[in-house]
């Protein structure tokens, strides 16, 4: 269960970016999560509010976009999407395909913030 440490990393990055932008609050955190990232979304959702407590991120909504696994098939000379369970061969021609080109991401895509100046102007 490493989702809690991932949640802490996520909150730290979001809070740092928010502070640098002069934000007073983070309202949403958008995450891209590879299907082969080895991260359980439910466990991450459980951990996120714990990690966010007492930070600018507290109360923020967490959205998770699942990134499918993509491989490059040298025989077809084309990119292919692999459905789970992951067998690393081309789903069209069955040629074994080594490293994946997408699907391991744990990426903070964007955050939504409220800024001090905005909050002052819109009480």
């Amino acid at each position: 269960m490493h989702e809690l440490s991932i949640a802490y990393n996520l909150v730290e990055l979001a809070e740092t970016a928010a502070r640098n932008a002069g934000a007073t609050k983070v309202t949403a955190v958008h995450l891209r999560l590879g299907a082969m990232a080895g991260v359980v979304e439910d466990a991450l959702r459980f951990s996120f509010p714990l990690a966010a407590a007492g930070t600018l991120v507290e109360g923020a909504e967490l959205t998770v976009e699942t990134v499918p696994v993509r491989i490059f098939c040298t025989a077809c000379d084309a990119e292919r999407t692999l459905p789970p369970p992951f067998a690393f061969r081309c789903p069209v021609c069955a040629t074994p395909a080594a490293r994946l080109i997408q699907g391991r991401e744990i990426q903070l895509d964007a955050i939504e913030i409220e800024e001090a100046a905005y909050a002052a102007a819109h009480p």
């Binding site: 269960m1 490493h2 440490s5 991932i6 990393n9 996520l10 990055l13 979001a14 970016a17 928010a18 932008a21 934000a23 309202t27 949403a28 995450l31 082969m36 990232a37 080895g38 991260v39 369970p85 992951f86 067998a87 690393f88 061969r89 074994p96 395909a97 080594a98 490293r99 994946l100 391991r104 991401e105 744990i106 990426q107 903070l108 895509d109 964007a110 955050i111 939504e112 913030i113 409220e114 800024e115 905005y118 819109h122």
Partner: protein, 220 residues
């Protein structure tokens, strides 16, 4: 009210990734091949590592090991019997090793005097897969006493490995190990991986494993 959207596109584990990059550069500059050993608990990481350290020292290589567990120094004490310098990382509740833990436990060691550094990760088939430790080689162990389909069940970790070691091969007959099924399972998830069958007890496969490591070090 309309909040502002900040596009970040940042890897969540970027801090670990950066530390791992620094470590990888340090290892390469010093001619050290770093090997990250991952597997489920009980698949024989420590036994294989003890035999590997002993045999590599006998061949004149300078080897060292860092071993991670939630608690106890038992593995470090076991590995130290090989005569190699060994350090234990007690992770407390952490289910995997991270680059900064490795960096901290390297302090005081002169990397220039080392040829190989083995990092025995916490026994866990899930969590270590996302954490780069700066290793040049990731070795995953699958013992014959586990299910042959383990790689299919845990694709992220097995896929991330450069080499898959089938361990405890001396027990294969006793446990009716289905070798073909196990090899197919590894090849399905990690077609790029080199597969080596080993036994820490009989020494089977140790030559092939050490030759593989020496070859990888020559390619650094």
């Amino acid at each position: 009210m309309q909040p502002r959207i900040l596009e970040l596109r940042q890897a969540v584990l970027s801090k670990n990734d950066e530390l791992a990059r620094d470590l990888r550069a340090r290892f390469r500059e010093n001619g050290v091949l770093a090997v990250n050993l991952v597997s489920s608990p009980g698949s024989g990481k420590t036994a294989l590592l003890e035999a590997t350290l002993r045999e590599m020292r006998a061949r004149g290589w300078a080897v060292a090991a860092i071993v991670g567990d939630l608690a106890t120094e038992n593995d470090a004490l076991r590995l130290a019997r090989s005569g190699a310098p060994v350090r234990q990382i007690e992770t407390g509740t952490l289910c995997h090793l991270e680059a900064d833990l490795v960096a901290r436990h390297l302090e005081g060691w002169s990397l220039g005097e080392l040829d190989f550094l083995f990092i025995e990760n916490v026994g866990n088939l899930v969590c270590p897969s996302d954490y780069d430790l700066g290793e040049a080689v990731r070795a995953v162990l699958l013992s014959v006493t586990e299910g042959e389909d383990k790689p299919r069940k845990y694709p992220p970790l097995f896929h991330s490995a450069d080499v898959a070691l089938i361990t405890k091969i001396d027990l294969a007959v006793a446990v009716e190990f289905d070798r073909a099924a196990a090899l197919a399972s590894v090849q399905t998830v990690a077609p790029h991986a080199t597969i080596i069958e080993t036994s820490a007890r009989t020494g089977q496969g140790l030559d092939a494993w050490i030759d593989y490591l020496a070859q990888r070090r020559a390619e650094l």
